[in-house]
């Protein structure tokens, strides 16, 4: 995306304060990527967007200059929630499970930032995708909702 001028966001839990704790933000690859043109790192708290706990999160943002303004615009609270998501719920599910889903306000901010960037990108004429590709993209454009929150595939 850096090379093609596209836009992107990589989301992952914020870098912990503990010195020896592992984090993708300590990977040399990520540190180097943050030096590439158009790449920035922003820290947000998903709690400010409606998550039940603070859930500090870092975003690696590529070519989305308006994302900070959009995030501020969509923020639901000014104070961090004091709840903690530790242990199991009454029905035996991990309390962190719900945190795997981004709060809607955060999704709204990301959607607005993406849309703003896509809208201001001029359209060039030239190659059109193959019909097969368009059919594939449409088949992967999901329209059915689900309320299930499953485990991710790291086990």
């Amino acid at each position: 995306m850096v090379q093609t001028g596209g836009a992107g966001v990589v989301e992952h839990p914020a870098e912990p304060e503990e010195e020896m704790a592992a984090s993708i933000w300590k990977l040399p690859a990520v540190l180097a990527l943050l030096q590439a043109p158009g790449v920035n790192r922003h820290r947000i708290a998903q709690g400010l967007f409606g998550a039940p706990s603070a859930k500090a999160t870092d975003l690696m943002v590529i070519n989305l200059p308006h994302i900070v303004a959009e995030l501020r615009c969509w923020m639901l609270r000014k104070e961090l929630p004091h709840g903690a998501s530790i242990g199991l719920t009454a029905d035996g599910q991990w309390r962190t499970g719900i945190l795997k889903e981004y709060p809607p306000a955060m999704c709204g901010a990301l959607a607005s930032a993406f849309r703003r960037e896509l809208d201001r990108t001029p359209t060039k004429t030239g190659s059109e995708p193959k019909l097969d590709d368009i059919a594939l993209w449409e088949s992967l454009t999901v329209t059915m909702y689900s309320s299930h929150i499953g485990q991710d595939f790291a086990g």
Partner: protein, 547 residues
């Protein structure tokens, strides 16, 4: 050991669907076949033998084995290696300190011993695959960083700055003359001139029978007199299977070290004037002569030469030798009918001796840099202040894909929910694509090489213009190793990564390894989007190919 290693790697390589001339590093071959390395095969054989000896019971031969300190050292090293592989996933203690426990397992718990050894080798294989995938990722990333930030790393110095070798028609630079000859044989099926001098293991010049083509080749390499004699006879044999061929290996097995070279007797040709050995190609020289015979325009002649060399596979060594010979033999008499002076023609021809003219001047980059060096390069990039880069032109096609990687199931309030509710774009069509295995087992699988290639190509082609990725984070969680277990039979999730082992060096079990492995692969995809090597899961499933 070197021969054994090479033979095993060759065997593994045959299992892969790659062409013979495709270069694959040993680690790449081992990662793709998912098999133990040659040294691990030997370790396994020794460990099995140790178990067999223990199962034989009390025998006097133990005294003999105990006296063999070298073999004992090897076995100790094997046990230590095995413990290193399984110490995080079993209760087995250090064999150096608790040998009795190991002996008990070997003697009385045979199936557990077999399971332990299998787990140790499986772990070693997975560790190697992990290392290789991360290495490939870093190589790809640093390549992109060098292009984007326009820098040259310290390690990428030219290795062979003095001599140039290569193939002109392929514009491929080689490191030495042997590489040049290997390329000409593999790609253009041109055999070395020396192989055309002989068609059996007897040297026609000195009439010595060397029994194998390998020995005869070595003889002709060092015995300059014989080589010059044969060159002077000016004949060419039909090429026969040479050194390394099955037939020659069979001959080596039958004769080598059993018989010395045997002097044969017979009629000899009359001595001829010894010719100087040159790399001049007679056909190419003839072509140059014909081109310049009725020269009307130097530029047109040069163009003809360029066209000819594109069609005629020629090494840099042959080309330079032939052209130099041609230029040296030009004289004023030849130039009488030419519209330009001899000096000018020579100058134009000597221009063709510049490697740059044939794209053979690219500096060599070290073929494989260590992972540590590549990571250090990234750290250096991270602490360097870079000048502001010029913006990449921001244009996109009418069809634009926003790829939501690891999207999970759709739900109200997700990214697509908001995008769908916005007013439709006026000048483009937006496809919000969910990429996740719960959406599509093939096209949503970030671990499948074919899938990754497809989306990467779509991005490079300019159709995927945006992405959102939230890679799984369970193996990174700072909650690991904290708190108290809910019951004594259930352990807390253990810490899999720390600052020194960011790519996970100590998975607790094969299952945990698989989890961290998937996360690693998906992280690499999210960060880079490029191919990080095959994985078993994607191959089993038959990764899609869609071009």
């Amino acid at each position: 050991m070197t021969h054994f290693h090479a033979a095993v790697i060759r065997l593994y390589r045959r299992l892969l669907p790659v062409s013979p001339d495709q270069h694959l590093a040993d680690d790449e071959v081992l990662s793709q076949v998912h098999m133990p390395s040659p040294i691990e095969l030997i370790r396994r054989a020794r460990l099995r033998y140790v178990a067999t000896l223990h199962h034989c019971g009390e025998r006097h031969e133990w005294g003999l084995l105990a006296a063999d300190r070298a073999w004992q050292g090897l076995v100790e090293d094997d046990m230590d290696w095995m413990w290193g592989q399984i110490k995080h996933s079993s209760q087995m203690p250090n064999p150096k300190l608790h040998w009795e426990r190991w002996r008990e397992v070997i003697c009385f718990h045979r199936s557990y011993w077999r399971r332990l050894t299998r787990r140790a080798f499986e772990h070693a294989i997975l560790q190697r695959e992990k290392h290789w995938r991360v290495q490939v990722f870093y190589e790809s990333l640093t390549r992109h960083l060098r292009q984007t930030l326009k820098y040259v790393p310290h390690e990428c110095q030219e290795i062979a700055a003095h001599a140039t070798y290569g193939c002109i028609s392929c514009k491929k630079r080689c490191r030495n003359k042997a590489g040049e000859a290997a390329h000409m044989f593999r790609v253009h099926h041109q055999v070395a001139k020396r192989r055309l001098l002989v068609d059996d293991p007897v040297c026609p010049a000195c009439l010595k029978n060397f029994h194998t083509m390998g020995k005869l080749t070595a003889h002709l390499y060092y015995a300059k007199h014989c080589r010059r004699t044969l060159h002077s006879r000016n004949y060419e044999c039909a090429p026969v299977p040479g050194k390394g061929s099955n037939q020659d290996q069979q001959n080596t097995k039958e004769h080598d070290r059993l018989l010395p070279p045997i002097q044969a007797e017979g009629p000899q040709q009359a001595p001829q004037r010894a010719r100087e050995e040159t790399e001049v190609d007679s056909d190419l020289h003839m072509f140059l002569m014909e081109t310049f015979l009725d020269l009307e325009n130097v530029e047109v002649a040069i163009m003809h030469i360029l066209e000819e060399l594109e069609m005629r596979p020629t090494t840099w060594t042959t080309w330079t030798a032939t052209l130099r010979y041609f230029v040296d033999t030009l004289d004023d008499e030849d130039a009488q009918a030419w519209p330009v002076s001899l000096t000018e023609v020579k100058a134009r021809l000597l221009d063709l001796l510049e490697p740059m003219r044939w794209d053979l001047d690219a500096p060599f980059v070290r073929p494989v840099q260590s992972l540590e060096r590549l990571e250090q390069e990234c750290r250096d990039v991270a602490v360097t202040e870079w000048p502001p880069a010029s913006d990449v032109p921001r244009e996109a096609f009418r069809h634009r894909v926003l790829l939501h990687i690891f999207s999970g199931r759709r739900r109200p309030g997700d990214l697509q929910f908001f995008l769908d509710r916005m007013e439709g774009p006026s000048h483009y069509i937006l496809h919000v694509v969910s990429m996740d295995v719960v959406v599509d087992a093939v096209w949503g699988d970030a671990m499948a090489v074919g899938t990754r290639d497809y989306w990467q190509k779509a991005a490079l082609d300019g159709f995927v213009v945006a992405f959102l990725a939230g890679p799984p984070c369970e193996t990174w969680s700072k909650a690991r190793g904290k708190g108290v277990p809910l019951n004594k039979h259930k352990k807390l999730p253990r810490i899999l990564r720390d600052e020194d082992h960011l790519w996970t060096a100590k998975p607790s079990s094969q299952r945990a390894y698989a989890g961290s492995d998937r996360e690693r692969a998906t992280h690499l995809h999210a960060v880079d989007g490029s191919d990080h090597g095959a994985n078993r899961r994607s191959r089993r499933r038959g990764a899609p190919s869609r071009t």
